[in-house]
């Protein structure tokens, strides 16, 4: 049985299945400590009476009768993402100054079986539900299910919200092969399973089914048009201070232009790898990470199948408690025309005044297909208020 199971896991791996996430922006569940009767239990050996501390006063914060009705309100957070851009770019014309995104997060535990997370993204006059899903955290047999709208677990970067990326912009393969800056977001169901492995090796298989509609990527005129994603994720600690994470993804979805069309499909594959180094004792001041993703898109079109490839490699090094330097190299063909290739390089410097604000500069050069060059400077200011989110990993 074990062998058979192993071979299936291997097959899934080989098939290029992909990965699931310590999701980017998952934030805190409502953190009210459950009050228990204080430790008034008699001790077997009598403790010195004088040393017995007084009973703990009730939690200071959210009690009080006037606030009792707010007790079960979700934790609320707002993240502002302000971007300034200088330089010339005739292909991707970002505004010179913009509040690029305001993300409102609403998160709470629903009942003993599930939690809910909503992330509403405001940008200019648009409001989008970037994500809104229920997570069933109490399923038997090591299953975890999500239902709703979610960032698809295709690759690693696609699962992350814009504000937790190590850059102010999305890398080219996301823009070119996953339908634009937003990436692949789907309405549907996700089921993931923790595969038993020796030692502390983390191994997770995620299968996802979505409505076959995702802006710029999939189009689903028929009700029967669905998109699928499979993701396998493995993680291991190399040592106490370094670790490696690998992901394999396979996506499949329709891209018919109208209901008259025979449905054509796009097949997507990705491999992602992340290496992290952070010595535990000096971890406040020194760390480094190196990540890369490799994508392939095969898109059936009226003019035949277009095969496009893309990749990026990016590194980040922590210089001091609040300072990080980074660099990124990227390249991607275009999904609808595999003969057109865009490439780019970028260097970055990030400063965190506190855990809740971040200032980041990027110098970026992109060379677009057709010999169009663009050199730009991006300056990003991000700030968060409200509930303390978990740090992305």
């Amino acid at each position: 049985m074990k062998r058979r199971f192993g071979s299936i896991a291997c097959a899934a791996l080989a098939a290029g299945i992909a990965f699931s996430s310590t999701s980017a922006a998952q934030q805190t569940p409502s953190p009210t400590p459950t009050p228990e009767p204080a430790a008034a239990e008699p001790s077997p050996t009598p403790a010195p009476a004088a040393a017995e501390p007084p009973p703990a006063p009730p939690p200071a914060s959210p009690s009080g009768s006037s606030q009792a009705s707010n007790y079960f309100n979700p934790s609320v957070s707002v993240i502002g993402n302000f971007l300034g851009v200088a330089g010339k770019n005739s292909v991707e014309n970002l505004p010179n100054l913009s509040l690029r995104e305001s993300e409102l997060g609403l998160q709470a535990i629903v009942d003993p079986y599930a939690r809910a997370d909503f992330f509403l993204s405001f940008n200019g006059s648009n409001v989008d539900v970037e994500e809104g899903y229920l997570t069933f955290t109490s399923l038997p047999a090591k299953f975890l299910a999500k239902v709703g709208r979610m960032r698809v677990q295709f690759g690693k970067i696609n699962t992350l919200h814009l504000h937790v990326l190590p850059w102010p912009d999305e890398p080219l393969p996301i823009v070119n092969l996953l339908g634009g800056e937003e990436g692949w977001i789907g309405d549907g169901v996700s089921v993931s399973h923790l595969l038993p492995m020796p030692a502390d090796l983390f191994s997770e298989l995620t299968l996802q089914v979505f409505r076959g509609e995702s802006e710029g990527l999939f189009h689903a005129p028929h009700r029967s048009d669905l998109a699928y994603n499979a993701h396998y994720r493995a993680y291991g600690d190399i040592s106490e201070s370094s670790n490696l994470e690998l992901g394999f993804s396979y996506g499949y979805g329709p891209n018919a232009e109208s209901t008259q069309d025979l449905t054509r499909h796009t097949r997507l594959e990705a491999i992602d790898a992340t290496f992290r180094w952070k010595p535990l004792q000096q971890g406040l001041y020194r760390s480094a990470s190196l990540r890369g993703e490799l994508y392939r898109s095969r898109r059936d079109q009226l003019d035949g199948r277009q095969t496009a490839r893309g990749w990026f490699v990016s590194g980040e090094y922590q210089l001091a408690k609040r300072w990080y330097a980074g660099a990124r190299v990227e390249s991607s063909d275009r999904a609808d025309d595999g003969s057109k290739r865009d490439t780019g390089q970028a260097v970055l410097l990030t400063f965190w005044p506190s855990e809740f604000s971040q200032l980041r500069g990027e110098l970026r050069r992109r060379r677009y297909a057709g010999g169009i060059n663009a050199t730009e400077a991006l300056l990003q200011l991000q700030f968060a208020i409200g509930a303390h989110g978990a740090h992305p990993f």
């Binding site: 400590p33 001790s43 978990a390």
Partner: protein, 305 residues
């Protein structure tokens, strides 16, 4: 797909048939709690801590290998008071282990019943830095809180593993007897220095200071979580000189550059104080934690005279 899930299920059921002598699997966020659980549980428990004793307990990476650990846990012991808010909630959610969710039988918030200091009585904002709205989460540095934590762990273990109740009670009694003895020894060593003023790097020692009658006069950090600034460093130098403060207490995971330079300018001694078990290998349990810090302090104070 169906076939895969059938195979997965089968593999799982195989994995679930645990041996009859299974130990209680305890995962704690801090090594202190794991160590106390080992003292109470003896060979009936397996204890593992997510954060190492030499690591800042606020900033722990949410490594997926921790999800694996949590998925197998029977009991999760947390410090609470939002100390673990930056990494633990998503780990619990992904653990697929209903037992260890807050409010369920396998979840123990060690702060409950402890003497918690600095609970804000007025509105707190992040202008104050990284403040904890439920009170200071470094409460286990008071040995009397350790006693309360030990009792809570013993109670919880008896609840989860009723067959071991007698063992847990016996071990708790032994732990408390030893703690009472050790407290006498520690209090005796510290008594000559009652009322001594100290400067600490981060505001993590109020419970220690309260128990051993020290007075925390200032912090090297201008605000919790904000690294030292030149102007604040100057203030601290003036404070140390004006009030003749003999020592600066620094945890092993903070940059010692600023406190060292303050020490050189003022003549105060910079002491490395370990906040948790495992900070150095010789701190192998909750008792040696206090032995180490108190001996460090006493040696520095004697050298001053």
């Amino acid at each position: 797909m169906k076939k895969i899930s059938a195979v997965l299920f089968a593999a799982l059921t195989l994995g679930l048939s645990a041996p009859a002598f299974a130990k209680v699997n305890v995962v704690s966020t801090l090594q202190d709690f794991a160590s106390i659980a080992e003292s109470i549980g003896g060979n009936r428990v397996d204890a593992f801590a997510l954060a190492k004793g030499y690591q800042d307990p606020h900033f722990v990476d949410a490594k997926p290998s921790f999800i694996v650990r949590l998925s197998r846990a029977d009991l999760l012991v947390v410090a609470g008071l939002e100390l673990e808010i930056g990494y633990l909630p998503p780990l619990i959610d992904q653990s697929r282990n209903d037992k260890i969710h807050a409010g369920n039988a396998g979840y123990l918030d060690a702060s409950v019943g402890c003497d918690i200091l600095q609970r804000p009585t007025t509105q707190v904002t992040r202008a104050m830095g990284d403040v904890h709205p439920y009170g200071n989460p470094h409460y286990w540095t008071d040995p009397e809180n350790g006693r309360i934590i030990a009792r809570a762990i013993a109670r919880k273990l008896s609840e989860l593993d009723p067959a071991g109740k007698a063992v847990y009670e016996k071990n708790l009694a032994a732990f408390e007897t030893k703690l009472t003895e050790k407290e006498k020894e520690w209090d005796g060593k510290m008594a000559p220095y009652a009322g001594t003023k100290v400067v600490t790097f981060h505001d993590s020692w109020p419970n220690f200071a309260k128990h051993f009658k020290l007075v925390v006069a200032g912090h090297v950090e201008p605000k919790p979580g904000i690294p030292p600034s030149p102007s604040h460093t100057l203030e601290i130098i003036n404070l140390i000189q004006a009030q003749k403060i003999p020592v600066i207490i620094v945890e092993p995971y903070f940059d010692s550059k600023t406190p060292k330079s303050i020490a050189e300018k003022t003549g105060a001694a910079m002491l490395t104080f370990y906040p948790s078990v495992g900070g150095v290998p010789e701190i192998k349990d909750y008792f040696s934690l206090f032995d180490k810090d108190i001996d460090t302090f006493v040696a520095a104070m004697k050298a001053k005279k």
